[in-house]
Symmetry: C2
Subunit: 419 residues, 2 copies
């Protein structure tokens, strides 16, 4: 730590040492892209409503939607009459996405199951696949093979080939650098700092975009779920790890350097429980599935022969807790208390209007749900306002892959739209 | 926690349930304001450099600077020749802020000392004052009187009266809602949810703007200090409490609801040490001055008669630590370890390019500085990149008030500029 010279600024006037105003980042989306996104979001929408929605002139909408029709991205849809009193004049026309304008795939690579979906440019699901992982940790080569396999299965299910795809989105846990496409660390890949995007893209011959899997769920919530009308919310995923996605100003916030919002690895105890990242005291080491599983060995008197994938052991622990096994209940109880602490920290730092909890673990949430909310309320600063809303979304496993597909869709349609 | 119906989204197509694109927030600053800020930041700058700096046409700069001159906010300055070879043609002219266009005050109300500064629109300091607080907690009425007193002293020092002020900025610790001007909770005000801005403004007859005092230091760093060339950084203040200001995209981020970035009250230990906010396990309860002071009573064998303001006891503790008192050293050591944990959590969540540490405590930092940096590096996720830079700024007490004055200046000049 280098200490600057102690000063009150009192020897120098404030003027002359201030900032040059730096160029602000622009929103980075052209109006044509915004119009396309509006049509995709709503499904079917007349031109006049687009103009109103985006506060732009009818003329701009007319000329840009004409270009989008020429590009083959959208089409006119004659709206069926809903009442009898019409019948004269021009039939009302809406715009919709040209479904077969393109197709994308979304993949989620995880600890114990890889999933994939194929969707068209309008967001319709055409096929899906799910492959159990045969182990928790993969070499980089193995994860590439696993990605190939689950993608091929989903393509087969959709009756499509790899050549039909405009882009592939891939989500996985850990530190994933969306900007560079590298993976500095992931619990599912043994090697560090792998070039996932580049390698996978060359291998399957299609543009690839990668991101942290919690951001995938967040994107699914933002595009299709509870977050679609919100400017800001936090999405926390609890499965084999703890993930977080944060939406600020209707966009995913990834931290200034692209590798932030790692709530699972914030420290909640000095010299605390060992985390699979190799450090001690991470929130994840008290709340994630693997943290519960390792205590389950004690609570359930399991021996070395009781091996199996974590979710099977967790299922047994849950059964025991329901049947009144105090040790099993204590494990869920402590996890709930730490979860409350983690949520309270999110509130104290980001002050979001909504927190969404999801991930497979949430199917056990009734064991501790009420306590978690009460604990959280007691651990946030008392602002005089009610605590933020907390919603649990027990989505099935495919929501992750659908979020990855949304990322791919975003990428592919931006590339397709000539601005 | 209300659980949504379990679903894979598989029964509904993704289309039709997406977001209507919400209106984005605009940058909210007109070009005229940007030009004025550019001139204020640089001190003296020719028109052509402003156009280059802001990437706008020379014509726009010419017409808007003419308006600013008419408004009395800026003036032309003939630049003195620096070399001999000139002498022909039009003399070079720069623009500078019209210093006496207006004056503002900045106040910081704190646990043990209230400070105030008076500056002109160009940022030059004209006067200052510092008043020791006679107690740590004030009633709302007492804090209003304290604000009056220190403001009057600073005005007297500057040879100005309250009628000369265009605005007053006030910073204080705790939960301060910049948007509404209310103070839901502050350690220096006994009552909760006080209407500080409104009451003070009516009392002194001048527009008032309020904010958390850590944001004031952050603003001072952003406008006049190490942050002026950075798009993002975190500023942590350690005194009687732990404050945090976060800059994202060259603007102070206050959390979605306006009361975020409360790092001092994130929980780092379940059921941990008691914090003055009334909760347990807050980072502040291990790192802030008051946390050290209460342990000092044990380390220094102090009795009930050893009363005094916290910083005096802290000074004694520091002396003992320097002289080798193991208990005293252990207190600083633990505070340093928790500080490292807090900094690591900031890195894991916000991934900033720079962390600035400031506040009076930092004068003791050599006791644990190296250890803190090493600990922090060991507690952040290993991304393959070096950890962010950490700088210690042992500013004197007036930097807080100067930040408050910057906030007032921002407020006042925005009001003065007719857009």
């Amino acid at each position: 730590m280098k200490a600057a010279e102690s000063s009150d600024f009192s020897t120098t006037p404030l003027v002359g040492c201030g900032p040059l105003i730096p160029a602000r980042t622009t929103q980075g989306r052209g109006l044509k892209q915004q119009i396309f996104e509006c049509i995709r979001a709503v499904g079917e929408i007349p031109r006049v409503s687009i103009a109103k929605e985006l506060s732009v002139s009818a003329g701009s909408v007319t000329s840009l939607t004409a270009e989008l029709i020429d590009d083959g991205l959208i089409r006119e849809i004659e709206v069926s009459k809903r009442d009898e009193d019409s019948g004269r004049g021009r039939p009302p026309v809406s715009l919709g996405v040209q479904q077969d304008a393109g197709f994308v795939a979304g993949l989620r690579l995880s600890d114990y199951r890889h999933t994939a979906v194929i969707i068209d440019f309008a967001g319709n699901s055409l096929g899906q696949a799910s492959e159990d992982a045969d182990k928790l940790h993969h070499s980089f080569d193995e994860i590439l093979v696993a990605a190939d396999t689950v993608l091929a299965s989903a393509l087969a299910d959709a009756g499509k080939s790899i050549d039909d795809l405009a882009a592939v989105g891939v989500g996985l846990p850990g530190l994933v650098d969306h900007g560079t496409g590298r993976v500095p660390w992931s619990p599912v890949i043994r090697e560090r700092d792998t070039t996932l995007r580049e390698t996978l893209s060359a291998r399957i011959g299609c543009p690839v975009t990668v991101d942290n899997d919690a951001n995938m769920v967040t994107l699914a919530e933002l595009w299709f779920g509870a977050g679609r009308s919100l400017n800001n919310f936090a999405s926390i995923t609890i499965e084999h790890g703890i993930g977080m996605g944060l939406v600020l100003d209707h966009q995913i916030y990834r931290g200034a350097g692209g590798l932030g919002t790692e709530i699972g690895h914030t420290k909640v105890q000095l010299d605390g429980a060992l985390c699979r990242c190799g450090q001690r005291g991470c929130l994840e080491a008290y709340v994630a599935d693997y943290a519960l599983v390792r205590e389950a060995y004690t609570a359930l008197n399991l021996g070395k022969s009781d091996t199996g994938l974590p979710h099977a052991i967790l299922e047994r622990l849950y059964e025991q807790a329901k049947q009144g096994n105090d040790s099993a209940r204590a494990i869920f109880h402590r996890a709930g208390r730490y979860l409350a602490l983690g949520l309270a920290n999110i509130v104290n730092l980001f002050d979001p209007s909504l927190i969404l909890l999801s991930g497979e673990r949430m199917k056990y949430d009734y064991l501790y749900a009420e306590e978690v909310l009460t604990d959280m309320s007691n651990l946030i600063l008392q602002t005089g306002r009610p605590p933020p809303r907390v919603e649990t979304h027990a989505w099935g496993g495919l929501v992750w892959a659908r979020g990855a597909a949304a990322l791919a869709l975003d990428h592919a349609t931006k590339a397709a739209i000539k601005t």
